[in-house]
């Protein structure tokens, strides 16, 4: 609370950046975790979670007041105009501090108290069970088992407690191998492919330098190779560019020498490091944020950002591994430097390609929990949850989610979830609303008591799954089954407008196929119920009941307006600036400047101007979907109530 210099400012204007509409006037409230703008006229609310604020900028003064630009990590950009300089300054300073959390305990998730009792909270954390997931894959079995070597996080403090290794690898071999690997991250099972018994294993780079060897590490790889009876060799995939890997040798790290290991095929894949990716995304964001760019500017910017090139290299790596495992039946060990960024991306992407389960809602949650959360992807460092070295930040999971999105574009029926699910996960990775992604490893989370002090995201998403389902998904569809074989030709990769321009409502299709199909499916379900009742009626069940239900169902349908006037167009549709803002303008200073002559055509009845506001507020039901990270309906933020 001490960071809030000014809890409330009146007569603040919220500018609409995407159109020339007039700004809304309202009151701005600063609370511990949210900045809230309440429109005076329509009482719409815009909630901005402070942990999502990326930066705050004071712009040069205008005739109407002092502008403040707030950029969020979910690519929302908010421009406020504050009448008084002092107020603007106070808001600015408060926001700067509120959005820069210094200690984990200050994060929103530690204060977020939904109305759930302790037992329910514990159950929620048990919603996903990794042990059950490994069982589903088919381990333990006669060749693979779980090892207790890391129970106390003594061998590797960034690995999970429960790990799966070849039965033939003895404890000394594991420990020896871990000493020969960066941060002790020895080769361990990531995914077991039941059909061919081939596996994906993951690790960090070996401490090979120019010539060092480690017998136990060599035995470890041999054990992995031999645990796949169908193949006489295995791949070792170094996801780094060869040059980077070679440079690492000078610091005593590096990559496997094929001569020292029995029957390995070594392969570089060439995914760039976190710093290159950070800069690339920065450029991409600048491109997506250009004010009315020409087609040339946009495409050139897209090209020079190199972003799609990186996405392509990651998807190509995942495809290579999935092919090796499924088609060749060959096991693969994947590593990069530390084995928690590129390795994680590539292993989880290969799993999505291989296993239809990971293309379901629950499956993607489990996959992220397993490959990302449990294996020590450094969420808090990469996504800047607390103030730390900015060089640690990088869009690693962004790229994974985007690869999945690119796959969804190629295989529209193969995924149970839709784009909104990916965007929702993306938001929660940054929002610090739930405890799942706090800290950098399982051990840190245990030490901090995340399970006891915060809530888990996954049951929350599951509860709202209706919003996240892809209507084209059918469990028995041919696309759903088996291994996906995506194309990686350049033209298959597209700019992800849904994420990077998520809040620029004017750029999205004005009618959504997704929404339409979701509504139709829901109606179909209701009709099925009605028919069932009719059938029961024929079988002698009371006629009244069927009639009542029919009335009820149709009543519901009409209230949703499924086939009625397309209200969503009314909300969204209005002309853009088609002439560089020069000639055709708002109705008032039209044409030759003589406003008397130019009748303002009374056609605003068609496109309601004020309704556009709903895009900022999660209370507006229209697309884009309400992001509960912006404001949670069950949150009882005390500061706002007091204000």
């Amino acid at each position: 609370m001490e960071h809030i210099r000014l809890p409330k400012v009146e007569r603040v204007q919220l500018a609409d950046r995407s159109s020339s509409r007039r700004a809304q006037v309202g009151t701005l409230y600063l609370t511990a975790f949210h900045t809230i703008f309440v429109d005076n006229e329509v009482h719409n609310e815009l909630w901005v979670l402070h942990s999502l604020v990326c930066n705050v900028e004071k712009l040069s003064i205008t005739s109407c007041g002092y502008p403040l630009l707030i950029r969020c990590k979910n690519f929302q950009v908010i421009q406020l105009l504050i009448p008084k300089e002092n107020d603007c300054n106070d808001v600015f300073v408060s926001l700067l501090r509120l959005s820069r959390t210094e200690r984990y305990e200050e994060l929103y998730c530690f204060s977020f108290m939904p109305n759930v009792d302790k037992a329910a909270r514990g159950q929620a954390w048990d919603f996903l069970n990794l042990k059950a997931e490994y069982n589903r894959m088919g381990v333990s079995n006669k060749l693979w088992h779980t090892t207790s070597v890391n129970r106390e996080y003594r061998v590797c403090d960034t690995y999970p407690a429960d790990l799966y290794v070849p039965k033939s690898a003895s404890l000394p071999v594991i420990v020896g191998s871990s000493r020969f690997r960066s941060k002790g991250r020895f080769p361990t099972l990531s995914y077991y492919y039941r059909e061919t018994q081939a596996v994906i294993c993951r690790s960090s780079q070996p401490l090979s330098g120019f010539s060092a060897r480690c017998l136990e590490d060599e035995q470890m790889l041999e054990a992995i190779m031999k645990s796949n009876p169908g193949s006489r060799f295995m791949y070792v995939v170094d996801t780094r560019p060869k040059l980077n890997a070679m440079a690492n040798r000078a610091t005593g790290k590096g990559y496997e020498n094929e001569d020292n290991y029995t029957n390995i095929k070594f392969q570089f894949i060439g995914i760039e490091n976190i710093h290159v990716m950070r800069n690339s995304q920065q450029k991409l964001i600048e491109v997506s944020d250009l004010p009315s760019p020409s087609m040339g500017e946009f495409l050139l910017g897209l090209e020079t950002s190199d972003w799609l090139k990186h996405i392509k290299s990651i998807l190509a790596a995942g495809t290579f591994i999935a092919k090796a495992v499924a088609e060749e039946g060959v096991s693969v060990l994947v590593h990069c430097s530390d084995g928690w960024d590129r390795t994680t991306q590539v292993c989880s992407l290969a799993s999505v390609l291989l296993d239809p389960f990971y293309r379901t809602l629950k499956g993607l949650m489990v996959l992220i929990e397993k490959d990302w959360v449990s294996f020590g992807h450094k969420f808090s460092h990469r996504y800047g949850h607390v103030v730390e070295e900015p060089k640690e930040a990088s869009p690693v999971i962004d790229q994974f989610l985007e690869c999945v999105w690119q796959l969804m574009e190629q295989f529209p029926c193969a995924f149970e979830y839709n784009e909104r699910f990916l965007i929702s996960i993306y938001n929660h990775v940054h929002s610090c609303h739930y405890g799942n992604f706090i800290c950098n490893s399982e051990k840190e989370r245990k030490d901090l008591g995340i399970r006891e002090k915060t809530h888990s995201l996954w049951p929350h998403l599951w509860k709202n799954k209706v919003d996240f389902v892809n209507p084209l998904f059918r469990a028995d569809h041919s696309q759903t089954k088996g291994v996906l074989q995506p194309l990686t030709t350049p033209y298959c990769f597209k700019f992800w407008r849904g994420l990077y321009n998520h809040f620029d409502r004017g750029l999205h299709p004005r009618q959504s196929v997704l929404d339409s199909l979701m509504a139709i499916k829901e109606e179909t379900q209701q009709l099925e119920e009605v028919l069932t009742i009719y059938q029961q009626k024929l079988a002698g069940v009371g006629r009244e009941q069927a009639n009542d239900l029919f009335v009820k169902k149709h009543g519901m349908k009409n209230s949703q307006g499924l086939w009625a006037e397309p209200t969503h167009i009314r909300l969204a549709n209005s002309p853009q600036d088609y002439n560089g803002g020069n000639l055709v303008s708002g109705p008032k200073d039209f044409l030759f400047g003589d406003t008397s002559e130019s009748s303002d055509p009374d056609n605003s009845d068609q496109e309601s101007e004020g309704a556009d506001f709903s895009c900022h507020s999660c209370s507006g039901g229209a697309s884009p979907p309400s992001e509960d990270s912006v404001k949670d309906p069950d949150s009882d933020d005390p500061a706002f109530n007091n204000a």
Partner: protein, 554 residues
């Protein structure tokens, strides 16, 4: 001329056909006057029937005595034929080349084609100017149908009947015609029911360097304004290009002579630039190197997407003037047969819900393109692969279709037709068994007796069994003006045309089928519930079901 003279080898056995994403077929190759046919003579294998007119370019290669002909089609498909025997291969190649570049219109396939179906509704009589005018008359009495051009002498590229302001007599029209490029004096293109504003179209005024003026022309376009109202002239060229046109006798409307009009210049490229764009984008899409940089820079350098953006933006601007500013619009470029028509027809799709139906769109193509004198035959003589010297080829209509597709993507529920319908139109403008897109002007079509000697595309498309494929299952009539986004992020590459032959569309087709299935199943249940509720005496609940069933009854 006998086609047989051009066919030295009419038949070769043992030819192997390679097509994208289809199994190779070995069979017999036959050449006829209009088709290249490959048949495996097995019942279960599909035959290839390719119109010579669809062939844009061929390449020959020889390895030993095995010849290979690579056939590049105007619909952008590339197929390969392996032909045993060098002489046979050369003969075939020469025949294809000769047959695919026949200049004489009367030798074209539509004059030889006999439909395998009964023509129930003749497409040639579907969209008559008289009928369109009747509809206009029911809304306003400010316009009349003039026969001034009935022998095509005033303006050779206009139809016999044109709609002009009631107060302007035919003599004035004749005088105005002398002041406009190719005689294309301003005529009515679209009447906006909601506020009575209109889109007129013309060609450039012939002001020349001396600043010539024409009172009749001024009077004509002023007659379209209501008392006290002012209008916009949208010149599709940049001011620089319009200035240069003066030296060749063309020009633009001077403010002093047209004080009630405000001129806006846009930058839609000339036809030869558009053709270059097409060649480059097709080249980019066919580049099989695996480099992202190369793809994006080629896509950018092709400028295709920029053309789409500029055309769509100009059309939106015209629509905005009409609907939002309540001002009438006159659109022209240089000749008034290309960019002008792109703008006027797209503006109507934005403004007028009827244009988003199958029939309405056909009427729009008929009215704003065919009747309005877009020279289809010249523009579509060659496509993206041809090595021939360009004459006046340009993808003007394809760009229009691309823009329609962009709007369709942004308003997927507002069009009665689907993407396949647009792709089909693209194919038929370049090569067709139907006569619809033959000729360059209405006058020429009359001379060729197309309506007697050929079958109209619409006669075929509108048969229920064909139409089914082209209907959009998501269609819900939408009575509003639809404003598309023209931001680069919102404009996509039209994969259905440009990547159609480069990657398998199996997964996307399956997704479309699944969508159709979801909607069909819903309708089926609606019907069942309706039947049961009727049986149970619940007729008062018919409403919601009926409103949903209009799609069924199409």
């Amino acid at each position: 001329m006998e086609f047989a003279e051009l066919i030295k080898t009419p038949r070769v056995d043992g030819v192997v056909l390679h097509r994208p994403f289809l199994p190779t077929v070995e069979g017999t190759l036959c050449l006829t006057g209009h088709h290249l046919i490959l048949s495996s003579r097995q019942d279960n294998t599909e035959e290839l029937w390719l119109l010579h007119a669809n062939i844009d370019a061929i390449e020959k290669r020889f390895i030993g005595s095995l010849g290979t002909i690579i056939v590049k089609c105007k619909d952008l498909r590339i197929i390969q034929l392996d032909i045993p025997g060098m002489e046979e291969c050369l003969n075939i190649a020469n025949s294809i080349e000769a047959l695919s570049t026949l200049d004489s219109v009367s030798l074209m396939y539509p004059f030889f084609y006999r439909p395998m179906f009964e023509v129930i509704e003749d497409g040639w009589n579907l969209f008559l100017p008289e009928e369109a005018f009747k509809e206009l008359e029911s809304m306003t009495d400010e316009w009349r149908l003039s026969e001034v051009n009935k022998d095509f002498s005033i303006c050779p590229s206009y139809p016999a009947l044109v709609t002009v302001p009631k107060d302007i007599d035919d003599d004035s029209l004749c005088k105005a015609a002398t002041f406009r490029h190719g005689g294309r004096f301003p005529v009515l293109s679209y009447y906006h029911k909601k506020n009575g504003m209109v889109i007129m179209r013309a060609s450039q005024p012939l002001t020349g360097t001396s600043g010539r003026r024409c009172k009749e022309d001024e009077k004509l376009i002023n007659a379209t304004l209501r008392a006290g109202k002012r209008g916009y002239i949208i010149d599709t060229r940049t001011i620089a290009v319009a200035q240069q046109a003066k030296a060749r006798g063309g020009g633009f409307e001077q403010e002093a002579n047209y004080p009630q009009w405000r001129r806006i210049h846009k930058a839609i490229e000339r036809t030869n630039i558009l053709q270059e764009s097409l060649i480059k984008i097709v080249e980019a899409c066919n580049d099989h190197s695996n480099s992202m940089d190369r793809w994006l820079s080629k896509l950018e350098a092709s400028n295709w997407q920029s053309q789409v953006k500029e055309i769509l933006t100009t059309a939106c601007l015209a629509a905005q003037c009409i609907d939002r500013e309540g001002a009438s619009v006159l659109v022209h470029g240089t000749e008034g047969t290309d960019s002008t028509l792109q703008v006027t027809s797209l503006a109507q799709i934005i403004l007028e819900p009827a244009c988003r139906t199958v029939r309405g769109f056909q009427a729009l193509v008929e009215r704003e393109w065919l009747q309005a004198g877009h020279p289809f035959q010249q523009r579509c003589a060659q496509s993206a692969y041809s090595n021939e010297k360009l004459r006046s080829e340009a993808p003007v209509f394809l760009l229009f279709l691309d823009c329609v597709w962009q709007i369709l993507r942004q308003f997927p529920c507002s069009f009665q037709f689907n993407e396949h319908f647009l792709v089909m139109l693209f194919e038929h403008t370049y090569a067709s068994q139907f006569g619809t897109f033959l000729g360059t002007t209405a006058a020429e079509r009359v001379k060729l007796k197309l309506s007697q000697k050929t079958v109209s595309l619409w006669s075929w498309v509108n048969r229920p069994q064909e139409l089914e494929r082209f209907l959009n299952p998501l269609y819900e009539p939408n009575s509003l003006v639809i404003w598309p986004s023209v931001a680069p992020q919102s404009l996509l590459l039209w994969e259905g045309v440009f990547l159609r032959w480069n990657r398998s569309t199996k997964c996307l087709d399956e997704a479309y089928e699944e969508m159709v299935h979801i909607i069909e199943y819903n309708k089926e249940l609606q019907l069942k519930v309706w039947v049961r509720s009727s049986a149970a005496g619940q007729r008062r609940f018919m409403g919601p079901c009926i409103s949903h069933m209009h799609i069924l009854s199409l």
